[in-house]
Symmetry: C2
Subunit: 202 residues, 2 copies
DNA sequence: ATTGAATGCGAATACATATTCGCATTATGG
DNA sequence: CCATAATGCGAATATGTATTCGCATTCAAT
């Protein structure tokens, strides 16, 4: 950030700009998100934008930071059933993922689609860390029953498979495949891969 | 295409332009692939470009068409071991996928990264159809051993999971995870999902 | 060889976008 | 209330890119 906003109105402007960035992404896509549009959408002049953000990318970074914060908070609120079996755990995570992709008018969807050219690493890190930790806890607890080697590799595969399959599913406007079917399929695939057993009954 | 190239030199120019498009994508990424650059790279003037392509997108489409053709040919050449078990089949397909992503100096990698804003549907279709057919044949033959429900859903999940996990793996320059580990993990996950017990126990 | 069509050219046009700068307005501390 | 700093403005600038157009060159058929 180029300059620290000291007064109240400038701090509100910074917030408005970040929110406007998100709204522009939702309405016009990442490519259609231009600085004039962001400024207009925030009800602010272009010049003011550059008072606090060194360039357009800084805006995206700020948005990423904010979203990472939001996501972290949402994750903490998720109830973590102590006694849940693997199938329910994974199923819950996937349902949570679909909710995220459909939330915010598709903001996350568009961001993930453009992951390779956006400074979105922070959001990804938050998710990655959370689920890696979750998995670590779970598998330490059930070590006898589920001896899992190379957790890193498995989580990498599982996370990316899930995320992008969901993105593709939500992206295809034609409802050829139902979200529920895909969610169920993903869950089964992952549970089979991580735990061995299939299905909720044991 | 705006006009049919009738003479030999013009046909060669059209080819050169398509090749130049591919090379530009490799060297400068999809975003850095501009019409002046393509023309220069093809050793041709910008004006000539517009003789045969109505706009830049038409060039990408033509490239997609050509690649679809190439991929289809490569797939047909792939030896299809009659007696292979599921693990070898899937493993072979995944190894083939990694080869593709590393081939052509990362052309396919960059194209898939930008899948959502490119007219690449044809290439995807070729792959989709091929593997769906492959799966159908395999599972018809082994019906007794591997009763598989909803092949469509499963192939959707498997294809997207594999593709994007591979893309992410190849994209991360830091070799934190070895390609071989990821390939092996993916193979195990997919084999478990396709070949193991039938899905949801309701 | 001649001629008309096809091809090729690249400067010029039109547009869009990122970023800056000098000036006007507003807040804050004394 | 004043003085100074902070803030806000938006026309102007700089850059880049897609696309066109009038003219030059080459081809192919007679």
């Amino acid at each position: 950030m180029r300059k620290q906003p000291r007064q109240r109105r400038s701090r509100r402007m910074v917030d408005a700009l970040i929110d406007a960035t998100a709204q522009c992404i939702v309405e016009h896509g990442v490519d259609g998100t231009t600085t004039p549009r962001i400024a207009e959408c925030a009800g602010v002049s272009v010049g003011s934008l550059y008072q606090y953000f060194s360039d357009k990318d800084a805006l995206f970074e700020a948005l990423g930071e904010k979203l990472a914060h939001d996501v972290a908070r949402a994750l903490k609120r998720l109830p973590l059933p102590e006694s849940a079996n693997l199938h329910d755990l994974v199923g819950g995570a996937i349902r949570f993922g679909f909710e995220m992709l459909n939330a915010r008018e598709g903001l996350f969807l568009e961001l993930i689609r453009n992951w390779h050219r956006l400074p979105t690493a922070r959001v990804a890190d938050v998710l990655q860390d959370h689920f890696l930790e979750l998995a670590r806890l779970y598998f330490i607890k059930h070590h006898q029953r589920y001896p899992i080697a190379d957790l890193q590799v498995r989580m990498f595969i599982v996370a990316n498979s899930t995320l992008f399959t969901m993105v593709r599913q939500v992206s295809q406007d034609e409802g050829l495949l139902r979200q529920e079917e895909v969610a169920e399929g993903l869950t089964n695939m992952i549970v089979g891969y991580l735990g061995g057993e299939t299905g909720p009954s044991r």
